[in-house]
Symmetry: C2
Subunit: 285 residues, 2 copies
């Protein structure tokens, strides 16, 4: 790869560049159009899409329901990011950063907005007292790995995934840079999971829920068709952990909520009650 590029003194937006998703990436924030959000019957209203960050939250909610917590019932609506739904005025009011997932909790007065998947996981864990250990040492270790995911996955998604799968050309230097970092991250997880059943220790927690849709999906071959390139089977402990979690009923349900692509029977565009899963083969309750 050769280049004779010299950056200009002041950067200017070239709307023609950007590869896949170029049409939804902008250098400015805020709403582009008026569009109120739909609202269902439950206290919790989720506006999302079944991307890895979206799946974190639907898995969390299904795990809470699996434990019999009825107040965790929720309505889940699709935010179609390819259509620019994230720039609608209603969505921007919930998440000024225009990213899914975003949650409204109408059980509080006034209602509470929660954005950023990590913030939503902590919010739900603390609201219902599940999946974030109460014990000081365990809670701390859980938060360490939860925050690890937040700071690490952008190198996988916004870095490796973009340049390996979505950029308009295969640029060698960025692919190398981000592949190396993702492999290092997988090795960090592998060493951790060699010694512990779950990331925070012996308990399944929000740390696993946050990491699985990214690194679990990666080693299971769901992400970017990069399994061979990254030699994911060499991370045996991550693979064991990922397969184990994939079998959880809540995970099977959560990963199809707000899914609008792939096999029709593994899609559930909107979710309003547990019975919505009944018509979904294999992934049903």
């Amino acid at each position: 790869m050769t280049t004779s590029y010299t950056p200009p003194k002041v950067w200017e937006w070239d709307q023609d560049s950007g590869g896949k998703f170029a049409n939804i990436n902008r250098p400015v924030s805020g709403a582009t159009h008026e569009k109120p959000l739909p609202r269902g019957q439950h206290a919790l209203q989720l506006y999302s899409l079944a991307t890895p960050n979206g799946v974190k939250v639907t898995v969390m909610l299904e795990e809470l329901l699996e434990r019999g917590i009825e107040q965790a019932e929720y309505d889940a609506y699709v935010i179609d990011i390819m259509e620019g739904d994230q720039f609608g005025s209603g969505f921007v009011d919930v998440n000024p950063n225009s990213k899914i997932p975003a949650l409204m909790d109408f059980s509080t007065a006034p209602p509470t907005r929660v954005f950023e998947s990590g913030s939503i996981l902590v919010y739900l864990a603390e609201k219902f007292g599940h999946l974030l250990p109460a014990d000081h040492a365990k809670r701390t270790e859980c938060m360490n790995w939860l925050f690890w995911q937040m700071g690490s996955a952008p190198m996988l998604g916004g870095g490796f995934g973009h340049f390996y799968a979505y950029a308009p050309e295969k640029f060698e230097y960025p692919i190398n840079r981000f592949a190396m970092e993702v492999k290092r991250q997988l090795d960090v997880l592998d060493k951790r999971l060699a010694e512990h059943l779950f990331l925070a220790g012996d308990e399944y927690s929000v740390a696993d829920i946050a990491v699985w849709p990214w690194y679990g999906a990666l080693v299971l071959g769901y992400l970017y068709e990069a399994a061979e390139f990254l030699d994911v089977t060499s991370y045996g402990h991550v693979l064991r952990w990922a397969k184990n979690i994939a079998e959880r009923p809540a995970v099977k349900r959560g990963k199809i909520v707000n899914k609008t692509w792939g096999e029709p029977e593994k899609q559930l565009h909107e979710r309003h009650s547990a019975s919505d899963f009944d018509s979904r083969t294999e992934d049903k309750r």
Copy 2:
């Protein structure tokens, strides 16, 4: 920029590529050498460097001390990442991810390890009951913005900063991609700070402490010499907020702790007590 690159079936490590920091980036994790960590007299032992992620924690600790919390006294030791200190066995035991900052709290039995800057901020805020609002709505909004920083700054540091300042060549496509995202993020902050004094609302909090060393430093011209390129002065509300925070005594102290470069009088390699700042011009208590 043209390329005829076709990724191999399986990625392999080329140790000659990588630009600045190439010698410290690896596709594997874990310790490379035996090296115990030093330990001082206080319960809190910080192993860090005055990079943006390191400054978050030293500012947090100095803010707590500013509020008279004596138990927040700490010893801060330098982890020289260019020398590979992050791969020493003692450091890896505290942070298996080999990134600064990392904290040990010896006031608990057994001692508690805390890694990831966001996790450390929450840990200290909850331990001492400061800088993370107790009120449900305010706490949630604070956590939203704290997690926003965690997920966003990798696009600034590992994305924009790397390609604009550190990569071996100026690659146009990555610079454009990450510049656009950073400008969008600055605009998100600008709109938020147009309506609120601080990120979480009317109170200075861990959200500001996390965001300031990255986006505050960026608009103040400290990061990557990119102020003109990103036209940072157009984000007037971020600039007002950044200048305001820069004047806080705890920030003036925190930003020089574990600093090993720049003007000698604005460096403090190790910090063991408040009096360590006495010889530092302008930034002293």
